[in-house]
Symmetry: C2
Subunit: 255 residues, 2 copies
Amino acid sequence: MEENVSLMQAQKATAPPTQARIEVQVAVAKVGKYATAESGDTVEIVERPQGGISAVVADGQRSGRSAKAISNIVVRKAISLLAEGVRDGAVARATHDYLHTERAGKVSAELNIASVDLVTRTLVISRNARCPSLLRCDGHFVWLDAPAEAIGVYRNTKPSITELPLAAPLTLVLFTDGVWGAGAPTGSIIDLPAILENVDPHGDGAASAIADAILDAALLLDHGRPHDDATVLVLKLLPSADESGIRRLATRFPI
Amino acid sequence: MEENVSLMQAQKATAPPTQARIEVQVAVAKVGKYATAESGDTVEIVERPQGGISAVVADGQRSGRSAKAISNIVVRKAISLLAEGVRDGAVARATHDYLHTERAGKVSAELNIASVDLVTRTLVISRNARCPSLLRCDGHFVWLDAPAEAIGVYRNTKPSITELPLAAPLTLVLFTDGVWGAGAPTGSIIDLPAILENVDPHGDGAASAIADAILDAALLLDHGRPHDDATVLVLKLLPSADESGIRRLATRFPI
């Protein structure tokens, strides 16, 4: 469906038959920068009209209300296009063009989209972000760190796209700057593979436990006072014996 | 903010100070009619641009793909309006007008919207559905069963709106026909208050446990073969001592 299909080809040989039953789990944990009223990160999960889901994570430039306003319009545009059936690469491009036009190229946002596409039976990851994403499959960790500009500022910004067959087990970890840069004035010191090995040694743990462990580790590095809005999204594909067909969704937050 | 404010006025005297810390929990469990490829019910949860969330539950006429297509466009329209900051009553009316125009009045859908509005600090429930919703607050059960037409067919269909102050503890249970009519050729035999009393005797249980228990009970009444698409959404307001400000979202489903 999209560019950068090298990982897909590398995996095809070992992928199980596509009709093997898989459970998709997506979990998000997020917290705002310390002493700000709201997080400048926005996350939404939306059903794809032809089956599957898309999760959109946006990190608006700076923090607080102005950042929230930016990430909000970015995610709103992206989910409305995804819900209309627009393909992920075109959604990222269109959302860039929209933000670039709307804010005259003066405002940037990092945008990650992860889709479980039941038409192509692939996982599609579109990155417009400086910080990488982490993939764990076949017991190996792979960093998705191809250079990918934030949206909104330059002309013709394109996403970096990775597409993989839907095969379990697989773990994808998407996160924003606040997680990546936790505890470090510049660069990154958080050891995400170590956290995953620790909290999910066999790769069969729940996505929500992993998301919570990663956000907890980031908060610990920042001594409980996050220096930036921090969001982590974990998407897991797990082998499943569940025949019930039940779908579940849950959210909780303090007000 | 809206009509039908009697419950709100009745509660004002006993409501705790609005700044008491509250945790909002929303949980959804859904399953398609037996032997259909997909559920004709659609649920989405979206962040409100000025704070809070809205959950939209739509049940498209009939079942299977045609029902899914209807509930999908209904929910898509509703969430896009909610994400733009349109008030709930206007969203329900606009979504009706849209479906009525788009399908020439030939297709109906039941539409429920539950919003935690942090501007008005109220819970707003908009019903366009034949089956009722159940509210539990101050240890009492209240049925929200004011007559409310499904959207799409008649002219000028309006929602039945209930608005309550955000005060814990409170449990709202929204559901579609498949839950309400489980095990019964006509009418309803599922005893929702008994299920809540059983699974959540003190009113402090998790929304997800309640949603799962209700869907399980509906499936049991249908002998594991749901005779209609069945969806239950539970929204809880709970007293909270959590100071972390962490927001969480999780979904899981088989493919």
